[in-house]
Symmetry: C2
Subunit: 532 residues, 2 copies
């Protein structure tokens, strides 16, 4: 009678141990947050092959040149966006004859010896930039005619490692012996949320799914249940789904990304706008404390409680005391844009107002108007106009355009003027570049940033960096005074003024005279800048 018992014991042991092991595994999984399920490596290296230029541009001329019976309409052809912009100065126009237009060849800022190497490095950096920015959702796709396939062409999006039902799939065919649809993806798998009778589903949970049925209605019902699950996550990518049926093929993209988390400002609403709660005044000073004090007292006359942020890189900084004033001390001569970047980085309100330290608020410096247009429209930034002692005031409204120039870089054209007026704001227009007196969404300005390499003088550079990111407006009726730059014979120049001018307008030996051009060439990948 012992035998069976003895046979039982080891069995029990095994049972217990395996139970124990199971428990341990479960606990481990829980502990590690199920890491194990993602144990796989993904290649996110920059690819070596370069992205062809204007890859998204259909080579239409070549496709039509064979064949006859047509005449070019030169007036239209001339207007077409080119892929090979030139840097020549346009001739025969009154503007160029009167020298109102100019072209700067940026490559020449580098000495001939280094140009080739610099250009190659720029090209490599640009390829990397492209690969970080572009996804297959940017590529050109054509919907073929007379395809029995119905499918979504835009607006399909999935969260990292999540699942969605693919909308709008169907097969519109008649009188086939058997109806079959195949879908293929690269960064995720397919499945069905429900199973329909008389439909054969192969490849559920895989990157290739095959559906077939003798009844097209059943197949279409089944197609409505097809799900896509992202399995390989790379931020900001897209999967291209291939859709096939007898003799026909279609492709569409599914965007794979996190939602961009909003950054909203919690400001109690009230009748009118609470400027102090919505706006911070930001400025940068260097030596000119007399000017700065003038500015501050002029601000206080109209806005006693608005916060003023001051970035200061003077040698022997003076403390500016007072309520709602924040002064930041930087290393000596850190520079103009570095200071602007610092000031902007410290703003806690929804909007910031940029002023130079030699501006003076007047009765028509109406910040409420700027707040109103920013609160009511989609603009990110709105400028005013700066009034000189001569009473002449400028808004510096400009538009910019970039034409493709291939490997040599693109061409930037800057024009006086604007795009259009802003409905409901008679004195306001939309432009790309404006004057140095503007109110803007704080996080948009922080996103663009002021390039700290620009030390002494710089203005347009910020708007070039902001092109494609900032939605810019300009209102001619919101004004600020500019402390005179014109020194009359009888007005004696202050000590600080003389010092300041020395630093600002006389270029130090260590500084690169053509720095700005080099930045436009390398950083912004331009080959020339035209102004018209």
């Amino acid at each position: 009678m012992r035998r069976p018992v003895s046979r039982m014991r080891p069995l029990k042991k095994i049972a217990c141990t395996s139970l124990l092991v199971a428990v341990v595994i479960v606990v481990l999984c829980e502990l590690t947050g199920n890491k194990w399920q993602y144990r796989m490596a993904v290649d996110i290296h920059y690819r070596m092959e370069s992205i062809p230029y204007g890859q998204h541009d259909y080579e239409w001329r070549t496709t039509v040149l064979n064949g006859s019976m047509y005449r070019w309409k030169e007036s239209v052809v001339r207007q077409l966006t080119k892929k090979d912009c030139k840097c020549e100065k346009e001739e025969s126009s009154l503007r160029s004859l009167l020298n109102w237009s100019s072209v700067t060849e940026l490559e020449t800022a580098f000495n001939a010896a280094e140009r080739h190497e610099v250009k190659q490095r720029r090209e490599k950096e640009y390829q990397h930039f492209q690969q970080r920015m572009k996804t297959s959702a940017d590529a050109l796709l054509i919907a073929r005619a007379n395809s029995p396939l119905e499918y979504p062409i835009q607006g399909v999006e999935v969260r990292p490692l999540k699942s969605i039902v693919i909308p709008g799939l169907s097969l519109q065919a008649k009188y086939w012996r058997r109806y079959e649809v195949n879908v293929t993806a690269a960064l995720g798998t397919f499945d069905v949320a429900a199973e329909v009778d008389e439909v054969t589903v192969e490849g559920a949970g895989q990157m290739h799914l095959s559906l077939s049925s003798a009844q097209v209605d059943n197949l279409n019902r089944q197609l409505q249940f097809v799900t896509y699950t992202n399995t390989i996550f790379n931020p900001n990518t897209a999967d291209t789904v291939l859709l096939k049926t007898a003799g026909h093929q279609a492709a569409f993209t599914i965007k794979i990304r996190h939602p961009v988390i909003p950054k909203l400002y919690n400001v109690k609403s009230q009748s009118g706008y609470n400027v102090s709660a919505l706006v911070t005044v930001a400025t940068k000073t260097f030596l000119r404390y007399d000017k700065l004090r003038e500015l501050i007292s002029s601000i206080r006359r109209f806005y006693p409680t608005v916060t003023i942020v001051i970035a200061d890189d003077s040698s022997n900084p003076q403390k500016i005391e007072g309520p709602f004033i924040e002064q930041y001390f930087m290393p000596y001569r850190k520079g103009w844009f570095a200071g602007r970047n610092l000031a902007v980085s410290q703003v806690q309100t929804k909007y910031l107002l940029w002023v130079d330290d030699d501006f003076i608020f007047a009765s028509d410096t109406k910040l409420e108007k700027m707040v109103e247009i920013l609160e009511k429209t989609t603009l990110d930034m709105v400028g005013g106009s700066v009034r000189e002692v001569t009473q002449y005031s400028t808004t510096f409204q400009h538009t910019m355009s970039v034409e493709q120039g291939g490997k040599d870089g693109d061409c930037l054209t800057v024009r006086k003027g604007f795009y259009h007026e802003v409905e409901g704001f008679p004195n306001c227009v939309v432009a790309d570049a404006i004057v140095n007196f503007f109110m803007a969404r704080t996080n948009k300005v922080q996103q663009v940033g002021f390039d700290p390499l620009i030390a002494r003088q710089g203005h347009l550079e910020f708007f070039i960096d902001g092109l494609g990111l900032l939605h810019v407006g300009s209102c001619s009726d919101i004004k600020v005074d500019h402390a005179s730059k014109i020194v009359m014979p009888w007005t004696r120049q202050s000590e600080s003024d003389r010092l300041y001018k020395g630093f600002r307008y006389i270029q130090p030996v260590e500084e690169d005279g053509r720095l700005q051009e080099k930045l436009l060439y390398f950083k912004n990948r331009l080959k020339c800048m035209k102004s018209k």
Copy 2:
């Protein structure tokens, strides 16, 4: 004989005057940069009607519930992304039972009286955010089956006020008496770059173009020449083009935008990586100068020439002297994130390395490794691991996901773990949140920013703000030491330590204890945060 002469004189006068006038007009046009041609107002107000939630999500359940012959596959249905995330704590899971998971209801951070008003304001701000972000290119479009129309479904883009040829247009039909195609747009006009024989073109230069012919080949040739010119510019919008022919209709979008200008860094290449040319070390200090000095000397042991940027908001700041050291002085107790923002705003190199002021470099603090992975992959940021005196070191690898929650806000879930390993870098993975020791592309960190409202403690907040913007990696084999927080009985705590702890861990009366939760609720528009 006088009469004719006398009749001639006034004529001459008229001729001369009109000639003069003409010249003046030309000059004026040139001067004004042809402003006149854009004289029109565009409505860029925020629209009143709110954007429906999940508008891009196809209501598939409703479309299929009528009809029969199918069974839900619950295992799949459970995985589907929901539009109405719940904040309940999941039951019955080991993790929740053992309290490894938690749910924070964020609305409760506000007192009951104000909740309603706060929520309404948040909703309004969110609608505005949506309207700034979204374009018609995000809406769902379906390509209909068996349409004779061929057209581009993605990848068509035009620059503000510029012209392109629309790629891929054709009509694939047979045996029609007359072939006709109509195109309609809202933000631009159509024209043809060439005219084809025996094709009637109506509406050239207008928002509606009609092409017709008796020969389909001629019509298709003509379709290859159709151009689109953007006439109404709003940054970051898209025009929806309607395409019609007998009994069929299709729609596709043309994106209207400036290119985003690249911001490339010009760093001379060399064998290996020049850390000092590529990286700036950024840190924030408050009172703990002994710790800071330890950090700096440990950095100098390995990287004697790397620039170190220090943001300092101490009460009686001490000057930290030395080569390649930049110290910035802020108003007293400006705070932790404000200081990080300042330091980051002053970095001039391609990458920045974030370190806390109580870190200490060791022989395995290999910045070259971090540079290598950033240079070779599409990552924006890569973290290391922080080693405590106990020799235990942490990478703080987490993933995050956001589920839609409708008007109440979305649900954020934070999980321990990562997405996948990085091919070619065995100890590196991709995640959404990492430890406080990381190297990153400078302009990406500046774009996300550190919310200056977070004064004393904060970490995850930065990565939440960065979700959808940052491509984050983490390498466990790149380590930095953490000056001990564990005070042994025999080690006497330094004066500065005691002061520091007082400020950091004891909450001042004026501070809002639930500030972080309020920010998540309002700024990031979340209703709850779950950790698993």
